[in-house]
């Protein structure tokens, strides 16, 4: 539907190809995660926008399955870290261990040195470990014993967290929430989807059978092309109107980093829909997952969640 309406004649070959690849990638994941097409598409957009993803929901709705499906479908080096309250930064970054043979300290890379890192229950670890992780996410490098180690490319962190009212959690501070491009919620599947899941194969088995749709090279290429999706001045006007409105209505509005996040995510969304330009609708589509966790901590109006704020912003700021 989108392609018929918005056919753009420049470079149709590549565009069509990319769109097909992304669609195939998305539908493979949707086979495992039944009835959550929207969430899966958002997760893919997050990946394409070179952002990190935070999945928040109650246990048992398929957070881990989704992240594993993403990793496997990419054919990338995958590591999973279960966060606990006694986890130390060195446990994820790596240790320098004295090598008797060579008579020197040798750095042993931790599990963070991989292309897709799945962090389960990120809010169960203490602030120290959380900040070590989030620094690595932002800088794409790790410093240990005075040496800086580059993390591999692409580098994609999927963190899952339980809702914060659960026992034994350390809520992520707002500055660190900002590092995640999107926060999505999966939610309980509807009745039909749940029936399909109950009847279908074991999810673990299905995960093993997933094959990579594209590799690191292609992913990096797509990620680079996402940034070239055209954003007209009318669209940037709209984006800035949203940012301004958020700053007027909330004591701590959206940061400039949030503005960039919104831009990149909407570019990825436009590309997934086969467009060479971003429309206000793209911003609206990714608006809630990008903005909600950044607006949710407004103390003055604590009665309402960030999701409501984001929704109201999108519904009230006129498209210029």
């Amino acid at each position: 539907m989108h392609s018929t309406l918005l056919a753009h004649e420049r470079d149709p070959e590549i565009r069509f190809d990319t769109k097909k690849q992304i669609a195939a990638f998305t539908s493979q994941i949707c086979e495992v995660i039944v009835g959550k097409t929207e969430a899966v598409k958002l997760a893919v957009a997050c990946l394409l926008a070179r952002g990190h993803l935070l999945i928040e929901d109650i246990p048992g709705v398929g957070k881990t399955t989704l992240s594993q499906a993403l990793a496997r479908s990419l054919g990338l080096v995958f590591q999973r870290i279960q966060f606990t309250s006694d986890l130390l930064p060195a446990d994820i970054l790596g240790n320098s261990i004295f090598d008797r043979n060579e008579q020197r300290f040798v750095f042993h890379q931790g599990p963070l040195f991989s292309q897709v890192v799945l962090i389960d229950e990120v809010n169960r670890a203490t602030a120290k470990t959380q900040s070590a992780l989030l620094e690595a996410m932002e800088e794409h490098q790790i410093s240990a014993d005075g040496v800086t180690y580059e993390l591999p490319q692409p580098f994609f962190v999927i963190a899952t967290q339980n809702p914060q009212y659960q026992v034994g959690t350390f809520p992520l501070p707002e500055s660190q929430l900002d590092r995640f491009l999107m926060r999505i919620e999966l939610g309980v599947p509807d009745r039909a989807s749940e029936r399909a899941m109950l009847l279908g194969m074991d999810r673990r088995e299905m995960l093993k059978e997933l094959h990579p749709i594209f590799g690191a090279e292609t992913l990096l290429d797509i990620q680079a092309r996402v940034r070239t999706i055209h954003t007209s001045s009318a669209l940037l006007d709209y984006l800035q109107d949203l940012l301004d409105a958020s700053r007027q209505r909330h004591r701590s509005g959206l940061s400039p980093r949030a503005g960039l996040a919104l831009l990149h995510a909407s570019q990825a969304w436009a590309m997934m829909n086969g467009r060479e330009m971003v429309l206000p609708e793209d911003i609206q589509a990714v608006g809630i997952p990008v903005m909600a966790h950044r607006l949710g901590h407004d103390i003055e109006q604590s009665g309402q969640s960030g999701r409501t704020f984001a929704d109201a912003l999108l519904n009230s700021v006129p498209v210029p």
């Binding site: 309406l5 609708e281 609206q284 003055e300 109006q301 498209v319």
Partner: protein, 668 residues
């Protein structure tokens, strides 16, 4: 079109609550002035709205609306006998507003309701203009502002922020309000716009004194007038006789004042004695022409004459509160009474019974000295078991016998009337004076408040050596009435008798004993007095004297200046508005203008665009709502998106877009 109706916006709850609160505050002036079913039905409509709105019910059917309107018109006709005039007009507006409340459900109608509520505020002022009503309507006005602000802010704004904004707006408007109040041209000559409704003549004072006419007022706490003594010379309460009318024509227990008194010639005014007492009196509107002054006035304020008998008579009926200055002297000796004047002062009706005649003649036969006769008569009232009573029972105008010899129970009018008649029978010229006695001193505002309950009637007799002399037979019967004032008198008597025969409730009495309440009451009276004297009485004449005081000689000149300034400001505002309009809509953005005209047309066809809706989403929705035009809408949206959001739009696309939009707009 069905789809369009479905997306009717329900009026959000919070603005509706604010509006309802505002409408409640427009009600107080209606109670008491309009038939009570009008405000009651209005309240019911308001309550019904709150019940209907969450359920989505509303008054839709045209038939029902017509039936309701017909019903309202016939009810009004039934109540008033006509739908012309101020009160029927206001009632009609109120009732139509209630129907509108039941009907309204869209944003546009919400705005209409706000506007109508503002008109209701104005109507409230038509009905009553006292301070309490003014405050009520000010609150209503503010709440309407709050409702409008809340409506436009949407549900996300904090609860108090619209109130703050409304306060800020009003504060900003205040200087303009004051300027307009002072300088806006007031109609004072020629065409008179009568705002206050016609009062019924029966309440208040009357130019006939008949048995029961004063005691009828004794329960009324309505304000008659307020008086200030600017020189600080305040007579004692027992001498505070406020002279209203002088009644020359006696018919036993019933006395009457002349209909249209002539002016008192300056030569026969006499030379006043004693201390001059200057008063500022603010009289409430009563639609008749009497005015009051301390016994006895010697000059007449502008617009009034001093009638024979030294009382004030307004040249025009008093339809709105009026303030005047008058000087009184306690004594004006005048020992010239021409025989031509003397004769009518001894006239008595022929119907007077022999017993009464015999009584009067027994006094005059015994004593020749007029003062001795007067004393004799007063003694008669004092010693023969006369009682002062609020409810003496019914008397006819010829029931002088009944009063003097049998029942001996009366209020001031009975004593004054019978005393004057007896004096005439005994050969002493006498007349009855009606007015008020005493008043309540307000120590905060330093003025006296005289209520209808203070109405009083007394006598004047003519002595050859000193002229007219005030004699109050009531003082002989119930001296405390004169010395204490009416309310204290009643209170004392009620306490002595063990019960309260006043209509004031026990609660009000208890409250009155509490000093803070008393101070609050006096403070409120003071404010209310200031409102009446400084705001309400600021009419054309006052305005002119205000202009004179700031150095503008003629009101014509100021109207010219004000008019010029107003027109200049309006022109500047129009220029500013036009300039901002041009600035915010650059001429180069033809694309946007065309797209907007496309959206307007689509809205007319039943597919309005949300301001926050992107072009792609809108085209999808519009094609669904307007299937006939779907192809064209799709083409327009595609071209618009390409032109506005694509990297390098094709210049020919703009022309195609323009053609498509024009075609769409012109299509029927």
């Amino acid at each position: 079109m069905k789809v369009v109706r479905k997306q009717d916006t329900r009026i959000p709850r919070r603005p509706l609550l604010w509006l309802a609160a505002a409408l409640l505050f427009t009600l107080p002036p209606m109670f008491g002035t309009l038939p009570s079913w009008v405000p009651l039905l209005f309240l019911i409509a308001l309550a019904a709205k709150f019940w209907m709105e969450p359920k989505g019910y509303r008054l839709r059917s045209l038939v029902w609306k017509l039936v309701l309107v017909a019903l309202i018109l016939s009810l009004l006709f039934f109540s008033y006998g006509s739908i012309r005039g101020m009160e029927p007009g206001v009632s009609l507006i109120v009732m139509l507003t209630s129907v509108k409340i039941l009907e309204a459900h869209t944003a546009r109608e919400f705005h209409i309701m706000i506007m109508v509520a503002w008109i209701l505020c104005l109507c409230g002022f038509f009905l009553s203009q006292n301070l309490a009503i003014a405050l009520c309507l000010l609150i209503a006005f503010t709440l309407l502002l709050v409702a409008l602000i809340q409506f436009h802010r949407g549900p996300l704004s904090a609860f108090w922020s619209p109130v703050r904004t409304a306060g800020k707006l009003l504060a900003q408007a205040a200087p303009l309000i004051i300027l307009l109040f002072l300088f806006f041209p007031r109609l004072s000559t020629g065409f008179r716009f009568q705002i206050a409704p016609q009062r019924e003549a029966s309440t208040g004072f009357s130019d006939r004194l008949s048995p029961g006419s004063v005691s009828f007022l004794a329960n009324s706490s309505e304000v008659a007038f307020r008086a200030e003594f600017p020189d600080g010379k305040i007579p004692p309460l027992s001498a505070m006789y406020w002279r209203g009318l002088v009644m020359w024509h006696g018919e036993g227990l019933e006395w009457a004042a002349p209909n249209a008194p002539a002016a008192l010639p300056r030569t026969s005014q006499g030379t006043p004695h004693g201390q001059a007492i200057r008063q500022w009196i603010t009289i409430e509107a009563h639609d008749a022409r009497w005015m009051f002054a301390l016994d006895r006035p010697v000059n007449s304020p502008s617009g009034a004459t001093l009638a024979p008998g030294n009382y004030l008579w307004s040249n025009q009926p008093i339809h709105k509160p009026r303030r005047y200055e008058v000087i009184s002297y306690p004594e004006i000796p005048n020992n010239r009474l021409h025989s031509r004047e003397r004769e009518p002062l001894l006239e008595v009706p022929t119907a007077i019974s022999p017993a009464v005649r015999a009584l009067a003649q027994s006094w005059s036969a015994e004593k020749a000295e007029p003062r001795a006769i007067v004393n004799k008569a007063l003694e008669f009232f004092r010693t023969q078991g006369f009682h002062y009573s609020l409810s003496p029972g019914e008397y006819g105008k010829n029931d002088l016998d009944e009063f003097l010899f049998h029942r001996r129970l009366g209020f001031c009018e009975h004593y004054a009337a019978s005393f004057a008649t007896l004096m005439r029978l005994a050969g002493i010229p006498a007349r009855v004076v009606t007015g008020y006695l005493g008043g309540e001193y307000n120590e905060i505002g330093h003025f006296f408040l005289v209520r209808q309950a203070d109405a009083h009637a007394w006598c004047e007799v003519w002595f050859p050596d000193s002229g007219w002399q005030r004699i109050d037979p009531t003082a002989a019967v119930a001296p405390d009435r004169v010395n204490l004032g009416f309310n204290s008198f009643l209170e004392r008597r009620g306490a002595a008798a063990g019960h309260l025969d006043n209509t004031q409730s026990v609660l009000a009495r208890e409250l009155a004993r509490w000093p803070a309440f008393d101070r609050a009451r006096l403070g409120w009276q003071t404010l209310s007095y200031a409102w009446d004297t400084r705001v309400l009485s600021f009419d054309g004449d006052e305005q002119e004297s205000f202009f004179a005081s700031i150095g503008i000689p003629s009101h014509r000149q100021i109207f010219l200046i004000v008019g010029t300034v107003v027109i200049a400001i309006a022109l500047l505002l129009a220029l500013y508005a036009a300039w901002t309009h041009l600035r915010t809509r650059p001429c180069g953005d033809r694309l946007k203008i065309m797209y907007e005209s496309f959206c307007r047309k689509a809205a007319r066809l039943g597919a309005p665009r949300n301001p926050s809706e992107g072009p792609f989403d809108f085209s999808r929705r519009a094609t669904r709502l307007l299937p006939d035009e779907s192809d064209r809408i799709r083409r327009i949206a595609k071209a618009y998106i390409a032109l506005r959001y694509a990297p390098a739009p094709d210049p020919t696309t703009l022309e195609q877009f323009a053609e498509e939009v024009n075609g769409f707009v012109r299509a029927s």
